[in-house]
């Protein structure tokens, strides 16, 4: 708010002084006194006298009156006419639009000062000419703003509603649309005033704006320029006054614009794994050779305006060579953050604060960035959810794949292109020679995801992480991409971590599954076992929804809680049909529930026994 009030107060003070000029008992700003020409500060004239012996302070204040008067008058006229034009153009569209908004747009084809000079030539200089010219100059700005707002407003429900009630067009425009566009028009108004002050002073400086002897800052600078050797201060005062006015007006405009269109600035976090700084603090665990990835107790924290949150809390996961592990959960369960922290691509605000991610004998969470970079796209590759936004729109897809190859292997550009062509064939892109030279927007969604996959397998990774690779695609294309991934996995023996919110996909592709809820693992095990006998109530609810394709889990009311509002006890308890008082009391541990099977529910044995008894 201070951003709005401080410049606001400044501008208000300037306007107030200008308004009160006649009451301030200042010397006459145009009375000449050649005897005291260019005198320094003298009694009655704290800033001295100018080249005609006129009082400088008085001229500064009266000059503000002239500048602001011209600026406000023209912004008001332009605002009224421009808003009206925009309203008409936006409401009637078609010919009305052409004759209003498009027509005034032609004004924007002229550099502003030149159009002003053209009119000054015809009408002669003077405040009235200035107001006319400046009004014309700022009409298109208002027309555009009002036009855009009307277009978005007319599709709004309330306008439709008033329309359906039979209100006349003029009435709707005045009563419903106008108040709604007040914000943007106000911003435009402040912009126009600030711009008008600049143009007015510029034209006056050229001697083509305000006519002497009337006081104006531009004229004062023009006059003082001739005598700047004898009296440099005389030049400085109007320069400072003008700059300060425009600066505070600009700041006010920025603040107003932000107030009308608020966007929260992101925070800068500073917290990392403490022991990254002290290597060897924790002894490395006995490495099990067949484990490609061994994630232990990963916790990710994000600093937010609401406090520090833990969207990933103590998550462990193992992936063996050649195995596919699925991570399942609704959005907000922390599955993507888990995956991206493994390759060090967490969003800037998020930091892993504890745990380890063993890839062979190296802890990915503690590797220095240059080493991690060599692994990324090399031994560990990732496929993202939305292939359109994940591909760079301005580079050819072939170049983007070749770039991945050349980031890890010394090879010529031509060779990399040839390899990219091979990869395109392997991922089943038809007409690969031509497609290499295509831009992302020229390909279909499925084709783009194939490009992403080609990029990911380019350096034969030992671990492939796929973050919802089919979510953004059509159902038929989804199946093709799943088939492709399964086939590539068979051929190369790559371990695959597959993140999804759909258990149907899990059944198709995964060997083991980890179910996540609100940043924690709630159940894990072999796919067959979990599907046949889900132990956690959440898993059961997810399974019940499988047949509904991607629909929200049935039978679970509510949504995943926000990380800053996680319950103290079992995080699923508020939505669980089987919750007891004990569930909310303390966080349940992840218990062993058989071979390769873990579940986080204090009632799992009891509930599963009851089901068996019922069966």
């Amino acid at each position: 708010m201070t951003r709005l009030w401080i410049p606001g107060a400044f501008v208000a003070a300037i306007i107030l002084v200008a308004l009160l000029a006649p009451l301030l008992d200042l010397p006459n700003p145009i009375r000449q006194d050649v005897a005291r020409r260019l005198s320094g500060p003298i009694p009655g004239s704290p800033l001295g006298r100018d080249e005609f012996g006129r009082d400088v302070l008085s001229r500064l204040i009266w000059g503000a009156r002239t500048s602001l008067g011209v600026a406000f008058a023209s912004a008001l006229i332009a605002g009224t006419i421009g808003t009206l034009i925009g309203l008409i153009g936006g409401w009637f569209r078609g010919l009305g639009e052409l004759l209003t908004v498009r027509l005034v747009d032609v004004i924007l084809c002229f550099p502003p000062i030149l159009l002003a000079l053209l009119v000054v030539t015809l009408l002669g200089p003077g405040a009235a000419t200035l107001i006319l010219v400046l009004s014309v100059l700022y009409v298109p700005g208002f027309a555009r703003v009002a036009y855009a707002e009307v277009l978005s407003a007319r599709s709004n429900d309330y306008v439709e509603a008033v329309r359906a009630l039979g209100a006349s067009t003029g009435r709707i425009l005045l009563r419903t649309v106008l108040p709604n566009i007040a914000g943007p028009v106000l911003v435009q108004f402040s912009l126009a005033v600030a711009a008008a002050v600049v143009v007015e002073s510029g034209l006056s400086f050229l001697g083509l704006g305000v006519v002497p002897p009337a006081p104006s800052w531009g004229l004062m600078i023009r006059g003082a320029r001739a005598t700047m050797e004898q009296a440099p201060l005389m030049l400085l005062w109007p320069c400072v006054a003008l700059t300060l006015t425009i600066l505070t007006m600009n700041l006010l405009c920025d603040a107003l614009r932000d107030a009308v269109d608020p966007r929260t600035p992101a925070q800068r976090p500073r917290r990392r794994l403490v022991d990254r700084l002290v290597p060897g603090l924790l002894p490395p665990p006995a490495v099990e050779p067949e484990r490609v990835l061994d994630l232990r107790g990963l916790t990710v924290e994000i600093e937010t305006p609401l406090g520090r949150i833990r969207p990933v809390d103590d998550v462990s996961l193992t992936v063996r060579a050649g195995e596919t592990v699925a991570i399942v959960g609704e959005s907000g369960s922390g599955k993507s953050l888990t995956a991206t922290s493994v390759i060090g691509l967490l969003p800037p605000a998020a930091r892993p604060v504890s745990g380890s991610a063993w890839f062979g004998d190296r802890d990915l969470l503690r590797l220095p960035e240059p080493v991690l970079r060599q692994l990324r796209g090399g031994a560990i590759a990732m496929i993202f959810q939305d292939p359109m936004s994940s591909l760079n729109p301005v580079h050819r897809v072939g170049d983007q794949v070749a770039e991945a190859i050349r980031a890890h292997r010394q090879t010529s550009a031509a060779n990399a292109q040839a390899q990219a062509l091979d990869l395109f064939r392997r991922v089943g892109i038809a007409d690969p020679e031509r497609r290499l030279r295509a831009f992302p927007h020229e390909l279909s969604g499925g084709m783009r995801q194939r490009v992403m996959i080609a990029m990911a397998i380019a350096n034969r990774p030992a671990l492939l992480i796929a973050d919802e690779p089919t979510t953004a695609l059509d159902v038929t294309v989804q199946a093709q991409i799943l088939d492709l991934l399964a086939e590539l996995k068979r051929e190369t023996g790559t371990a695959l971590v597959f993140i999804t919110h759909s258990l149907a996909v899990v059944a198709e592709i995964a060997d083991r599954v980890t179910v996540m809820y609100a940043g924690q693992v709630v159940e894990e095990g072999e796919v067959a076992g979990v599907f046949a006998n889900p132990l956690h109530p959440y898993t059961r609810a997810l399974l019940a929804a499988v047949h509904e394709a991607d629909a929200a889990p049935v039978g679970i009311p509510g949504v995943v809680p926000q990380p800053h509002a996680f319950p103290a006890g079992c995080r699923f308890a508020p939505r669980c049909a089987h919750a007891l008082a004990a569930c909310a009391a303390s966080l349940p541990a992840l218990e062993e529930a058989g071979e390769e099977r873990r579940v986080r529910c204090i009632r799992w044995a009891e509930l599963s026994g009851a089901r068996e008894a019922a069966a």
Partner: protein
């Protein structure tokens, strides 16, 4: 290709609209334009002089004939003769235009060379000391009117410190060093607000690009930070910067009038200001048309550059 032709057609339509507006200005003012041009400070003009001027400006003929003659002249590059000394307007412009162009080019070059790296660096170290200092400076630069900067530069560097000439012009062929020395201050004045604009836009669009998925993909490929920055962040951030640069060309072209005046640079502004003061209408029209045409042309070039940088526009 079709996109290209359509863009050129739009440009031509706009150029025609501009010429129409300029032509109409003379006719929409209330009263007799000739009388207006000859009257000063409310003193009525000499009726004989008014009649002569009406003939000279062709105001006696039907308006449609006048328009055809005007349009034909514009297309042939004949913009009439000065009312003051009968000198052909086109000839005057041909002499002055290259000097104005040189000034604009030098100013833009300085602005881009300063604003682009500074904006990128500020975005990468957002909230840091450099970012805060330069962002504050940019706000100040945008607030100081160009003629104030020019005048203050003259006061400081020429009058007080006496390290730079106050202004003037020497042809390049005559003395290249002197020519460039004299070019420096006006070019800096021109670059003043443009560099602030380029800085702000670069900073914003690099910040935007940094948050894009494709930058994450580039990092996921294991590319070096420099390569990610240049090929995926800055390269993609350039297009919005270019758009904004085009939008500010109008202010920039207007600014040259003031800068040339302050530094005595004999570009288009000298005859323009002289003509406005002398109410030499054909000269003013010729120069306004030329600079507006230049404005349209620069925007066309910007759009073509934009298409070269962003393949998606070519398809649309």
């Amino acid at each position: 290709m079709r996109w290209f032709l359509r863009r050129i057609a739009t440009c031509l339509v706009l150029a025609w609209a501009v010429s129409l507006v300029v032509f109409m200005t003379l006719h929409v003012v209330p009263g007799d334009p000739a009388e207006l041009l000859l009257s000063t400070g409310g003193i009525a003009a000499d009726p004989i002089a008014v009649k002569e001027l009406r003939v000279k400006l062709g105001l006696e003929r039907p308006i449609f004939d006048q328009y055809l003659a005007f349009l034909g002249g514009v297309i042939r590059g004949d913009l009439g003769t000065s009312l003051v000394d009968e000198y052909p307007v086109t000839k005057e412009i041909a002499l002055r235009l290259p000097r104005t162009l040189e000034l604009i080019l030098a100013g833009t070059l300085i602005a881009v060379l300063l604003g682009l790296p500074a904006g990128t660096y500020a975005a990468l170290h957002r909230g840091g000391l450099f970012d805060r200092i330069v962002s504050g400076t940019a706000a100040l630069l945008l607030a100081i009117p160009v003629f104030v900067v020019g005048t203050l530069l003259v006061l400081l560097l020429a009058q007080t410190l006496k390290v730079m000439p106050a202004g003037g012009y020497v042809p390049f062929a005559q003395d290249p060093v002197k020519h460039l020395t004299l070019l420096t201050l006006p070019a800096i004045a021109i670059a003043k607000s443009l560099s602030a604009v380029v800085f702000r836009m670069t900073r914003a669009s690099v910040l935007d690009a940094l948050s894009r998925d494709f930058v994450r993909t580039a990092r996921a490929k294991g590319l070096s930070p420099t390569r990610v920055l240049l090929r995926h962040v800055v390269r993609n951030a350039l297009t919005p910067v270019l758009t904004v640069l085009g939008l500010h060309m109008g202010t920039l072209l207007g600014g040259t009038v003031l800068v040339e005046y302050v530094f005595n640079w004999p570009g288009m502004s000298t005859p323009l200001l002289r003509a406005v003061e002398a109410r030499d209408y054909p000269m003013v029209v010729g120069i306004v048309l030329t600079i507006s045409g230049l404005f349209l042309l620069i925007n066309l070039i910007m759009d073509l550059l934009y298409a070269a940088l962003d393949p998606r526009t070519r398809a649309a």
